[in-house]
């Protein structure tokens, strides 16, 4: 198992190197290919442009810049470890910015995850236990709605209803607990959590339903009933236990993906997270900001992949890695 983990970690590194390399290449191929001009201010003189170029380290060959970047990630730069560089737009170090944004995205992702698990899985279970009933059809209808409705549509609709019309919930923006208290933070997070969670809840409900229906048709369920166990125990301890394993796996992957990927929700609700920062940086051509977000997102996704594989081996005793 340890050998397997080490092998996988090496692959994580290889993947990250490849991704960052590609990102570098894309940046220098696509416009604007002269960031030093963009960031030198209005009507820059050639001297100023050269100065900015030097400041950003853009006067060196691209490959050299890339090599330097990789070295700094592992060994740190003048701002600390890991070496996340500095931003072209704000001319300040990136590490604190990235860190703050990461925390916001984390709060969004975890809150949404808790919500979608609490809603999706019970609905899936109840649907599976009463297939083709009114409840089941309604639940799967809701699921279809949930996976089909885009966030950029649902978000503004909810804002319109609950904030603009009814005034029950506050508007967009992020209000950190430390500064504004629990209540303010929570009220501002409800809608983004709900919007983000809806599609996942729907998907998880469908998946739970499918897995549980399949598990309940297995022979060991018949054995469990033949032993005289209560139906509740048969469903929860035998059926559910078998059907939750793939769900845990998917949960890990979904969470990993959300770290860099919740950008539409963040934009609609004006939450200063990593996703919206990525968008901002791409449009302004802020190379190191783009790279940093890319690295963090890629790292979480690949690491989540590894983590869920390991967890799976613990959940399913038949799986053993060498």
């Amino acid at each position: 198992m340890i050998r397997y983990i080490i092998r996988r970690l090496l692959w994580v590194c290889v993947t990250l190197l490849l991704i960052t390399f590609l990102t570098y290449m894309i940046f220098f191929v696509m416009p604007p290919t002269r960031p030093e001009v963009n960031f030198a201010g209005k009507q820059p003189t050639p001297e100023l442009i050269a100065e900015v170029k030097k400041q950003f380290g853009l006067d060196k060959p691209v490959i050299y810049q890339y090599g330097l970047f990789v070295k700094r990630i592992f060994l740190g730069d003048e701002y600390g470890w890991p070496g996340l560089g500095f931003s072209f737009t704000s001319r300040s170090e990136l590490k604190p910015i990235i860190y703050e944004r990461f925390l916001v995205t984390l709060q969004l992702a975890l809150g949404a995850a808790i919500l979608w698990l609490m809603v999706g899985i019970p609905i899936g279970i109840l649907s599976a236990l009463r297939p083709r009933s009114v409840f089941d059809r309604a639940a799967m209808g809701f699921a279809l709605f949930g996976v089909s409705t885009p966030v950029f549509f649902l978000g503004p609709v909810l804002l319109y209803i609950f904030w603009f019309n009814l005034g029950w919930l506050p508007g967009t923006g992020f209000y950190p607990i430390g500064k504004y208290g629990l209540s303010e933070w929570f009220l501002h997070m409800i809608m983004p959590w709900s919007v983000l969670a809806l599609a996942f809840a729907a998907f998880y409900a469908r998946m739970t339903r499918g897995n549980l229906i399949e598990a309940m048709g297995e022979d060991y369920i018949r054995t469990a009933r033949a032993k005289g166990l209560s139906e509740r125990r048969v469903v929860m301890k035998h059926g559910l236990r078998a059907s939750l394993t793939p769900i845990v796996t998917i949960l890990g992957l979904d969470l990993g993906g959300l770290i860099g990927g919740a950008l539409i929700t963040e934009t609609v609700f004006n939450l200063p997270g990593l996703g919206s920062y990525a968008v901002k940086s791409v449009f302004s051509g802020d190379l190191y900001a783009i790279l940093d977000v890319t690295i963090i997102a890629s790292f979480f996704i690949t690491f989540a992949n590894l983590l869920v594989d390991i967890i799976y081996a613990f959940l399913d005793p038949r799986v053993r890695y060498t």
Partner: protein, 337 residues
């Protein structure tokens, strides 16, 4: 005459489907006496598994239309509430199934699955239940039972898994054990071992056993009585000797005649039973076997034959007169096989 342990009277189990009503069991009447082993033989679709799943309450009125009576120790199991039935299932009547690999939960240790069965019916501690589980594993012939109890089903061999299933089924000392194709999924060499274990434990636990199988060889040595089922009904009943040496039903003749023997030269082609197994939705009128019977005559297509005793307890459901049956068997069937 002793009281039967289990008495089934005119059991009917019909499944409504989109294609029609599937008459899986259509008027089944039989008894299981205390301490005996009953063999239930028939091809796939004869209703042998469905009838016992219904006895166990694993097929309920939610899934099928059920008529008739299932009298066990004075109670009609089809009438008692599901909670009461749950207490009987596993404790008084147990069942083991065909494929032990898929019948055991892959994620739980074997010892845990056995303890779970025990604790579902008795208020004892986990440790006590585990001790009992280990003891049961030992009794079914699993070596190092203490270690094995902490292993998962996929770490057991096929024969061991089936032994573990038997251990689980007998852990509460039931009065009746139903074994549904217990050896079908196992190697031939292991089959004999499992059947011997079942025999031995039947005596040790003083239980009755029902062995459901399609394999005539399996029942030959291990069953006191046999019932042959076809299309949801019993077509012949008797001791193993009756069925093997003096069968009185064309279906039984067909079954015996279609067995190949290792110790004979094969001069002729095999003699399968002509025709196909019947549709359980559109059951042939009269005797369900009539489309396939080489000795069919007009009455067979109209009247359903009753299971009538010919001598002692040996009974067959066939319109042929007894003398004809004996002659046909002696001249044609026995000569051929």
């Amino acid at each position: 005459m002793a009281e039967p342990l289990l008495e089934v009277r005119n059991l009917k189990v019909h499944f409504p489907t989109d294609d029609g009503l599937v008459k899986a069991v259509d008027g089944l009447t039989f008894q299981v006496m205390p301490g005996e082993t009953l063999g239930v033989v028939g091809e796939s679709g004869s209703g042998k598994s469905v009838s016992f799943l219904t006895v166990m309450g694993l097929i309920t009125r939610k899934q099928a239309i059920i008529e008739g009576e299932v009298i066990f120790q004075g109670q009609d199991l089809l009438q008692i509430p599901t909670d009461e039935m749950r207490h009987i299932r596993g404790a008084k009547i147990s069942m083991i199934f065909q494929d032990p690999m898929t019948s055991l939960h892959p994620f739980y240790k074997v010892g845990v699955q056995i303890s779970e069965a025990i604790r579902a019916h008795q208020k004892i501690s986990k440790k006590e239940a585990r001790d009992q589980a280990v003891e049961m594993l030992r009794r079914v012939g699993i070596s190092k039972p203490d270690e094995r109890a902490d292993q998962y089903p996929h770490e057991f061999s096929g024969g061991m898994r089936q032994r573990a299933m038997i251990a689980m089924a007998l852990s509460l000392n039931p009065d009746l054990l139903i074994a549904d194709e217990p050896t079908t999924a196992l190697d031939v060499t292991v089959q004999a071992q499992i059947l011997d274990i079942i025999d031995r434990l039947r005596e040790e636990f003083n239980a009755s056993v029902v062995i459901i199988t399609h394999d005539l060889g399996v029942v030959a040595e291990h069953c006191d009585h046999l019932q042959v089922m076809y299309a949801g009904k019993i077509v012949e009943y008797g001791t193993a000797d009756d069925i093997y040496y003096r069968p009185h039903h064309p279906y039984a003749w067909g079954l015996l005649g279609s067995i190949t023997r290792v110790d004979e030269e094969h001069k002729e082609r095999l003699h399968p039973i002509q025709g196909l197994p019947p549709s359980l939705i559109f059951v042939p009128p009269g005797c369900a076997f009539n489309p396939r019977c080489p000795y069919v005559f007009d009455k067979c297509r109209v009247d359903v034959p009753e299971l009538l005793p010919s001598d002692g307890h040996h009974a067959a459901a066939c319109h042929l007169p007894l003398a004809d049956k004996e002659r046909i068997f002696a001249e044609e069937v026995a000569a051929r096989s």
